[in-house]
Amino acid sequence: MAATQEEIVSGLAEIVNEIAGIPAEDVKLEKSFTDDLDVDSLSMVEVVVAAEEKFGVKIPDDDVKNLKTVGDATDYILKNQD
């Protein structure tokens, strides 16, 4: 069953908390991974791989550069999940 937007944000928050140590409640749609959430380019790869597993999506490397904010990632997952 496909995840809702709320479930995706909360899942991403868990991932970002695990990887970057940012409190889950600070992970919101408008937040930029790099500028607001201490996720650098290497850690972004970890976020993407964890998100792929959690939500059963495939996020090709070429698309990762377009995922600037939590909202970008959430929309991408909403559109592409099974």
């Binding site: 990887i19 970057a20 140590g21 201490d38 290497l42």
Partner: protein, 421 residues
């Protein structure tokens, strides 16, 4: 001897070792003659011929937050912890540049490891095979590269004069300290954070060292297994941790009013060119390093009262070292109290030179030589004044000097000299 050379002093000390999470607790353990060796509790150890090791007394995760720790190999974690302690001990409260008394362009870092991020490499290979390509951590390369600990320490203090990683197996940590002394002497830097680190307690390195017949298999007597100079010594015990110090030109230290522990007199280096792993049995290679130390630095054998021996508890190595000391120092060797602190810490490989530099500095600072424990029957061929069983006071006044010896597979010989100021 060259009187125009810049004098170098030690102004900060840090360590995390099998005896304690900092240099003070490590020193307490050394003076008390405490062993840091224990039976390995990990499941994998049950299948190995060697089931003992000297784990760090304090897990690095206790002082490094998880998001940072997960992108640092364990060896880099130890290095960072020891470096932070040394930096604070030298009186600094911020990075160079933010700390106005240190110019980042004049600050270097030289932290060595013998093996590098070996646990990261092997763990990620397990991930590759068990979970697939996609799951291999993007942090793998900066975690496994041997210069990772040095680079991370450099980033921590903002070192821009140069960040280096000499690799010479079990001599690496001492070679790093020697390199740092030379950086300051040659005018490349005013201050250098230097030392050694290692974290190789993993089934592959343990199996490999065990199959070389290099390690003690005294699994039933962990605390008594590392016994340098004992007749029944049967190999080294693997340890982990780091020792890092802050070296500084005497002039720079004086200008900022720093507390000075000791003078770092200099280094003597040589190579055996004898065998890839066996020490040259007559000690000639080591003797050459000692001769270089004496001839190239302002130090008099008469003032040397203590030696932190490399002495790993292997049958051949321990004696070659003593032969070399006698050959070079003659009767002067009789006033040098020789301590093998690996009897307590185990052998930290590339970390050994760092931790034993710390032990040597503190021995001078406290004017006390730590003991060599576990000598039940002194090898009759062990020539020299071995400090046995309990710590010994060194002369309580006057200028005294001490050496730290480190040798590595590959035939690398490094000898460092320190002296009270």
């Amino acid at each position: 001897m060259n009187a125009t050379k810049t004098s170098v002093v030690v102004t900060g000390i840090g360590a995390t070792t099998p005896l304690g999470g900092d240099s003070a607790s490590t020193w307490e353990g050394l003076v008390a003659g405490r062993s840091g060796v224990a039976r390995l509790q990990e499941e994998w150890a049950a299948d190995l011929p060697v089931q003992i090791a000297a784990r760090a007394a304090v897990e690095p995760g206790e002082s490094i937050p998880r998001p940072q720790a997960r992108r640092l190999d364990r060896s880099a974690q130890f290095a960072l912890i020891a470096a932070r302690q040394a930096w604070a001990d030298a009186g600094f409260t911020a990075r160079a540049g933010e700390e106005t008394s240190v110019d980042p362009d004049r600050l270097g870092a030289v932290v060595a490891s013998g093996i590098g991020g070996v646990t990261t490499l092997l763990d990620q290979y397990d991930v590759l095979r068990e979970k697939g390509v996609r799951r291999v951590s993007p942090h793998t390369v900066p975690m496994l590269m041997p210069n990772g600990p040095s680079a991370n320490v450099g980033l921590e203090v903002n070192a821009r004069a140069g960040v280096h990683t000499p690799v010479s197996a079990c001599a690496s940590g001492s070679e790093a300290v020697g390199y740092a002394i030379e950086m300051i002497r040659s005018g490349r830097a005013d201050i250098v954070v230097a030392g050694g680190t290692e974290a190789a307690i993993h089934p592959l390195p343990v199996a490999a060292f065990a199959n070389m017949m290099a390690m003690s298999k005294s699994n039933d007597d962990p605390q008594g297994a590392s016994r340098p100079f004992d007749t029944d010594r049967n190999g080294f015990v693997l340890g982990e941790g780091a020792g890092v110090i802050v070296l500084e030109s005497a002039e720079h230290a004086r200008r900022r009013g720093a507390r000075v522990y000791v003078e770092a007199v200099g280094q003597g280096i040589s190579a055996d060119s004898h065998d890839i792993v066996q020490p040259e049995p007559s000690g000639n290679g080591i003797a050459h390093a000692l001769e270089n130390l004496i001839s190239r630095n302002d130090i008099d054998p008469a003032e040397i009262v203590h030696i932190n021996a490399h002495a790993t508890s292997t049958p051949a190595g321990d004696l070659a070292e003593l032969k070399a000391l006698r050959k070079v120092f003659g009767d002067d060797m009789d006033h040098m109290g020789i301590s093998a602190t690996k009897s307590m810490t185990g052998h930290l490989l590339g970390g050994a030179g760092g931790v034993e530099t710390v032990a040597t500095l503190l021995a001078l600072h406290h004017r006390t030589a730590p003991p060599t424990i576990n000598i039940k029957n002194l090898d009759p061929e062990a020539d020299g004044d071995i400090v046995r069983d309990t710590a010994r006071e060194l002369p309580d006044s006057g200028r005294i000097a001490a050496l730290n010896n480190s040798f590595g597979f590959g035939g690398h010989n490094v000898v460092l000299a320190f002296r009270t100021v």
